[in-house]
Symmetry: C2
Subunit: 365 residues, 2 copies
């Protein structure tokens, strides 16, 4: 059953008369219509009988080609989308209705507009309902994610090949993104990260003018958007020879990553996956240097439900997709992170990326 039908079928369970959805990713997920309206309103109105899309005038024609949406209502910049919504719904008895909203996306100003239209309605969050639909991917979605992963592997290779003494972090980023765009990738999943040596000690550092020197580490964290689905991968490689201390740190992160990934299977909890990796790092004495969750869900968005974090208790299921990315960050020394994203299968998991996780040594050029 397609997600929209599934969602409509469950409206009555929560006694909801109307769903108001303005997260473009959810609109894309439910209807296939993809548009980034920036600050303009793009809203999908769903009742048991009907779906309508309120859309900026300049997207109206494209939206009308969509076969899933019953009614497309374009509005000009000088018109109010709220009036369009009010007029469209005026035939329905929504005064004392329950209206479903995505509380993890809807901003206050728009909520207040809805409250003005329906002062006596109650508003209920359908966030977890949508999350529960999105969290297990269909085979069609997985195909896009595998392709996104394949491009991430290519991007890593471009990055490894670009390394040479004196090159700046931002130059490597430019090269990677250029090669991706030439291959038809319109968008990276997030700002490509290439960090050299001790600069990688901040897990959210920004690539800049720092130049590469022989015998230091290079941390890559990158991904692409392919047909609306994301990839995300991290590798840390050695440029020349690195110290045995750093090799030991790498080995700890590698064992944590591989052990956690190998353990993934249906019915485990998200928190227990995190523990497997965290315990290995803690037992090696570096627990205080692993300062973020083990992973995050991904799909249409590169960070989505669920978190793979200490204490979380979601029981994982076939079709769920998330990252496994332990790291050790020691200021003044190095940052090491190794990450694959995986999909849960019947009996384990499959990664979306295939680049080796053993320490790659790129010869000094």
């Amino acid at each position: 059953m397609d997600p929209l039908t599934h969602l409509i079928n469950t409206l009555s369970e929560q006694a909801l008369s109307l769903l108001y959805i303005d997260n473009p990713l959810t609109i894309n997920y439910l209807t296939g219509f993809l548009s980034n309206p920036h600050e303009r309103v793009l809203a999908l109105l769903i009742t048991e009988q009907h779906t309508a899309l309120i859309v900026p005038k300049m997207e109206e024609n494209e939206a009308k080609e969509n076969k899933v949406i019953d009614t497309v209502l374009g509005y000009k910049d000088e018109e109010s989308p709220w009036e369009k919504i009010q007029n469209h719904l005026s035939g329905l008895q929504l005064n004392h209705a329950s209206i479903g909203i995505e509380s993890d996306y809807l901003i206050m100003d728009r909520y207040n507009q809805l409250k003005q239209l329906f002062p006596d309605a109650t508003f209920e969050s359908i966030t977890s309902r949508i999350q529960n639909l999105k969290v297990t991917k269909t085979e069609g979605e997985l195909e896009q994610m595998r392709e996104a992963g394949r491009f991430a592997d290519i991007a890593l290779k471009v990055g490894f090949n670009a390394l040479k003494t004196g090159i700046a972090e931002e130059e490597v980023v430019a090269l990677i993104e250029y090669e991706m765009k030439k291959l038809g990738i319109k968008e990276m999943s997030f700002d490509t990260m290439v960090l050299f040596g001790d600069h990688a000690a901040s897990p959210h550092g920004t690539p800049g003018k720092r130049t590469l020197q022989p015998n230091e580490l290079v941390l890559f964290d990158l991904g692409v958007v392919y047909n609306g689905y994301t990839s995300d991968v991290s590798r840390t490689v050695a440029y020349g020879e690195v110290s045995s201390k750093i090799k030991d740190l790498y080995e700890v992160v590698l064992q944590a990553q591989k052990t956690a990934q190998a353990a993934v299977k249906p019915e485990m909890t998200t928190g227990s996956i995190d523990s497997i990796a965290r315990d290995i790092i803690s037992q090696a004495g570096y627990g205080d240097y692993f300062i973020h969750r083990l992973g995050h869900g991904l799909g249409q968005s590169v960070h989505e439900y669920p978190d793979i974090a200490p204490g979380t208790r979601l029981s994982i299921k076939k079709g769920m997709c998330f990252s496994i990315e332990p790291g050790i960050y020691i200021e003044g020394l190095a940052g090491i992170r190794i990450e694959d994203c995986v999909v849960v299968t019947d009996s384990g998991s499959e990664p979306f990326t295939e680049t080796t996780k053993e320490l790659i040594v790129v010869p000094v050029k």
Copy 2:
């Protein structure tokens, strides 16, 4: 007076005891601290006496280097930022307080968290207060915007030079962004747009595999982020000879753009600037083909307050920055848009970009 001090000084006017701000751009604007927390909570708490930043653990050290923020409270992924907020504020009598929020940014889930912490508090929007601070730019901000504009001019030149028969739209995009990244630009202000011929008839079209043929138009719309400030420029150029019909259309758009831009001066209303351009296009018979507002504010974000749209009545002031971008879009034929962004001066306006607006003819290669 710096914006934070100015904002704090006005707290008492609205009888606000606390401001909760989680728009990263506003946090950057008020404190200089710049971070994109993605789905994590990054929140600035402002009282008359104190500013505190709630920040993901991995950004804590960087935040502590900031001199404007009194207290930095890092939280780990397994900790609740809301508990940190509650503990930090526990010494204050906020039970029946008025709390200021940015209603154009705050999402429902976070609002509900705040309501749980302060069940008897009232929440008031400070959106217009923040907008009114941000809308007139300081000389320091204008310097960044001029530099962002200079890079946009360079990007256009890269694009014009890349045109040759058979090249795909997405290849031109890749080249432009590559050259920008090599020059140290980390981020474009929005997805670079390069559209050929009739493909430009959708004002929000997406560059793809369409290849360039001799004697058609090419529409560029692009901008960069420089030190946290954006640029935005559109030019439409001819690749080879275009028909006299198309040249006439171009002339209409050009006159609309130039006339509106020349008219800008303090005390005009936003709506009257829109009218000047719109009337010229309507009188030429193409009013129905100019299907968007004339312009939008820009600064930290490429789309921000105010709108330059029909019927809007904001009186413009020195230091305000916005786009002037009329267009004509005729399906199956062409899309033509010409855009400069300007800052309002004492007696007129100054553009951020200098690329000529007369029709450029790029020789066929």
